[in-house]
């Protein structure tokens, strides 16, 4: 198969010729090609990986996007789409011989229909801006990744972003009705529909979470939901992580789907408390946040039921937010967990595995063991309701060898996630970061099938090449480097 062509499309031109072509397509302020300015685009939220592109284009119109795609397609220049650059897996890492296609200036809300409960937006619109625009109608857009004040809808579509409320309200794939955009060759495409379904294959499902590798989206129609009348949150403390994990399972077994169900271990609690003073109990081994939303009657009923479960499961203390201010304070600590990690350590490395909830205790014990093995600390925050774990590995990039140890630590966590029946990425995407671990999660034929899906949308292979799906060659190399628990993955493959 055309593995090489898909991964390293070689441009048919030099950088100089390419930049000259782009100048004809864009006004001067729409093109960046000087090294000093390109630096701003050398990485996304995963700053451990950096690369300078040939150029960055900042189109203002769809016509410019089409012209750019057609030009890059003709000249076989890789295109890396980019939103706000808040991604955590290097999905928007530039290609060293490619164009970064920033969609940040396509930032208009095109339509908001309160009767149909839909908003149609350009990809550069920020996640939170939709809910702000919908608020006067009592509506909001449900997926709320922690970066929602900055991240764009285009980026959310590329990554299938989640948030703290997705157990009840779903991920991006459950909340986007239709996208319009262009293939790598610049042909217009529409995936999905404003009707409840669309004819043919579910291309929308493939496009969402495709990390900018299948198409460039220029218009997104999302579903808006009625804002729940009220929400209250329980803060519960446990003297062991295992007990907190059992309480999570017990809440679900009780038939309750909380609006949010989050866990933090002691390290994360202390770091967050020190930062935002949320009122967290510092002596607790684990803290749970359980949110209920809906009508006042509904919330009262659910809070009482959850409280009874927490009590039964041995919560050492639990309290319900008395008012909106306190509820937001409870959440402030959780939402600030990442920056809080940044305050207690020069650098941190955020992981994103998902595991079956029942494996939580085993995973956290294994992480504690890895902390000793690698000589690094790890704070654990966890979307407990849906099994999505965000261990934050603390390290100092200025200490020789620490980043390499953090990376190996992270790889161990991800590979354990797969062995426990989970996945290497719940919501941050594979990007460049977890590409080696894809070799552990998928077999060679499955990876081959992914390349065929990619080629079905982008036969020339110019959209974000080299991301998300590893080549078999790469997997063989990785397998040689990393014999996991005495078992060599891809043992049947020829070694290159």
């Amino acid at each position: 198969m055309a593995e090489t062509a898909l991964h390293t499309p070689s441009p048919a031109v030099t950088r100089e010729v390419f930049v000259a072509e782009l100048r004809r397509l864009l006004p001067a302020d729409g093109l960046i090609h000087e090294e000093a300015e390109l630096r701003a685009y050398e990485c996304d939220g995963l700053s451990a990986f950096r690369e300078l592109p040939w150029a960055v284009a900042l189109p203002r119109t769809e016509e410019e996007v089409v012209a750019l795609l057609q030009t890059c397609h003709r000249l076989r220049v890789p295109v890396v789409p980019r939103g706000a650059g808040t991604g955590l897996s290097g999905g928007a890492l530039p290609h060293p011989q490619g164009l970064v296609l920033s969609l940040a200036r396509l930032n208009r809300i095109l339509a908001l229909d309160p009767f149909a409960r839909t908003a149609t937006v350009q990809p550069g619109v920020r996640n939170l801006a939709i809910s702000e625009a919908a608020a006067p109608y009592g509506l909001y857009y449900a997926p709320d990744p922690s970066s929602q004040i900055a991240c764009t809808l285009g980026g959310n579509v590329a990554e299938n972003s989640g948030g703290v409320h997705c157990l009840k309200y779903g991920l991006t794939v459950h909340n986007v009705l239709r996208v319009r955009g262009y293939t790598a060759a610049g042909e217009p495409v529409v995936f999905g529909s404003l009707a409840p379904d669309a004819p043919g294959y579910d291309l929308l499902a493939l496009a969402i979470g495709s990390e900018g590798m299948l198409a460039v989206v220029t218009e997104i129609t999302v579903k808006l939901l009625p804002r729940p009348q009220t929400a209250r949150c329980i803060l519960a403390a446990f003297d062991s992580v295992r007990a907190a994990g059992e309480a999570v399972a017990a809440i679900i077994a009780e038939g309750i789907i909380p609006a949010g169900l989050e866990m933090m271990d002691q390290g994360a609690t202390i770091a967050a408390e020190d930062f935002v003073h949320a009122g967290y109990p510092l002596e607790a081994a684990a803290v749970l946040l359980c949110e209920s939303d809906g009508t006042p009657e509904e919330v009262e009923e659910e809070i009482a039921r959850m409280g009874a479960v927490l009590e039964r499961c041995g919560a050492t203390e639990w309290r319900v937010s008395r008012d909106e201010e306190e509820r937001l304070r409870f959440w402030a600590g959780r939402k600030a967990a990442f920056p809080a990690a940044g305050r207690v350590s020069p650098d941190y490395y955020c992981m994103d595995g998902t595991i079956p909830r029942k494996a939580l205790g085993e995973m956290l014990e294994a992480i504690a063991e890895m902390e000793r093995e690698y000589g690094l600390r790890c704070l654990n925050v966890f979307h407990a309701g849906d099994g999505n774990l965000h261990p934050l590995i603390l390290f100092d990039a200025n200490q020789p060898g620490e980043w390499e140890r953090a990376e190996a630590f992270g790889a161990d966590i991800l590979e354990l996630s797969v062995r426990l029946g989970g996945t290497v990425t719940g919501e941050h995407g594979v990007g460049v970061e977890k590409i080696n671990q894809m070799c552990v999660q998928f077999s060679p034929v499955e990876l081959e099938a992914f390349f065929q899906v990619k080629a079905a949308f982008d036969p020339a292979g110019i959209l974000n090449p080299g991301k998300a799906i590893p080549t078999l060659h790469r997997c063989a190399e990785y397998g040689r480097m990393r014999v996991s628990r005495g078992k060599l993955p891809f043992a049947e493959l020829p070694r290159f």
Partner: protein
């Protein structure tokens, strides 16, 4: 089970380049889509059984040939359900067939579609490859979402050997209300209510009557009922009614000779057509059913013009279009996807790529 999978693989490989196969679970939906009279059945009903189910994980994994009623009975024993209420159409319906058909029932309005609940699949494709996509966890963005691609692909890409679905607790309370109103009033009210925090679950308008199902916390259902008014249907009658809707047993679905049954998926706010007062309207206005004489092909264009699409659900004659056409670029992508999983075209094109 491995022996059954091996046998299926042999059958697929033996047929490659020689004949076409039509994947058959319980045969409950064999009338749906574009039939291929020359295809031979590939029976997958032996591939049956629940593989894993832990209620507190909210995930159920079963072999594709597992009877749907067995899955639903198991869930019910643990106070859970498939919130998209898939239609059975016959007792023999299988879970793999439900996923391949991609159809949802009346509660799709309030609780989401089948594709929203697909977490993972293990499939046998047209090259004899056994492939696993997605998994058994709620959040998973590793690789393209091929599991969801199989939902509604009508057996054109491969055999669904195993499927993992997200399941949910049954709502603690349900209540069905009935109102007398016109089709336009129903569409207007349902869309307005859908923009308010109400525990809406399912809706049907037919022959001047709007039936509304509420499902959720007891307090929320009671508060909504008090606010919305209407006549309360006794629970037994309500359950019977919703099952009749799910299984399409109301008279509107009884096809007479010389008629076609049209399924119209539309943006839910689309006003009622003056010449479609006889429609049955589901999903808050988003789904409408119509019986029309053979030869009236205008519905593909009329649905498209308002941003929806039409399906000739039952009554298509040989060679007639069943599904609405797609754009040129989308069609090319679909063709290449089909070729990726089934390069020899061994699986019948019940979902035509046209």
């Amino acid at each position: 089970m491995n022996a059954i999978v091996d046998r299926l693989r042999e059958q697929v490989l033996a047929a490659c380049g020689r004949r076409r196969l039509e994947i058959r679970g319980g045969g409950s939906k064999s009338w749906y889509g574009a039939p291929d009279p020359d295809a031979e059945p590939l029976e997958v009903g032996l591939l049956s059984g629940i593989i894993r189910y832990e209620p507190s994980e909210l995930v159920l994994t079963a072999y594709g040939g597992t009877p749907l009623r067995e899955v639903e009975a198991l869930l019910a024993r643990h106070g859970q359900w498939l919130p998209f209420s898939p239609p059975h159409f016959a007792d023999s319906a299988t879970i793999g067939g439900a996923v391949a058909a991609g159809l949802s029932g009346p509660t799709r309005w309030g609780h989401g579609a089948l594709r929203d609940y697909v977490l993972g699949v293990r499939v046998l494709d047209g090259q004899g490859r056994v492939l696993r996509f997605g998994g058994e966890v709620m959040k998973n963005v590793a690789g393209y979402d091929v599991a969801r691609l199989f939902a509604g692909s009508l057996g054109t890409l491969g055999v669904i050997l195993e499927v993992s679905l997200k399941v949910l607790p049954l709502p603690p309370a349900t209540l069905t209300l009935r109102f007398a109103c016109s089709q336009d009033e129903a569409i207007e009210r349902l869309n307005r209510w859908a923009g308010q925090p109400l525990p809406l679950s399912a809706s049907v308008w037919w022959q001047g009557e709007m039936t509304l199902r509420l499902a959720g916390a007891r307090a929320a259902v009671e508060a909504a009922a008090a606010r919305l008014g209407g006549e309360v249907l006794p629970e037994a009658a309500a359950q019977r009614f919703w099952e009749e809707v799910r299984e399409q047993r109301l008279p509107v679905w009884n096809l007479h000779e010389g008629e076609v049954l049209w399924r119209l998926a539309l943006p839910p706010t689309t006003p009622a057509w003056a010449d479609a007062e006889d429609a049955l309207v589901e999903w808050g206005g988003g789904l409408r059913w119509l019986r029309r004489p053979v030869g009236d092909d205008s519905w593909f264009e009329r649905a498209r013009a308002v941003g929806g699409h039409a399906v000739r659900w039952r009554g298509a004659r040989a060679g007639e279009r069943v599904f609405a056409p797609r754009g040129a670029a989308e069609r090319a992508i679909e063709e290449r996807l089909k070729a990726a999983f089934d390069p020899d075209g061994v699986f019948a094109r019940r979902l035509p790529l046209e």
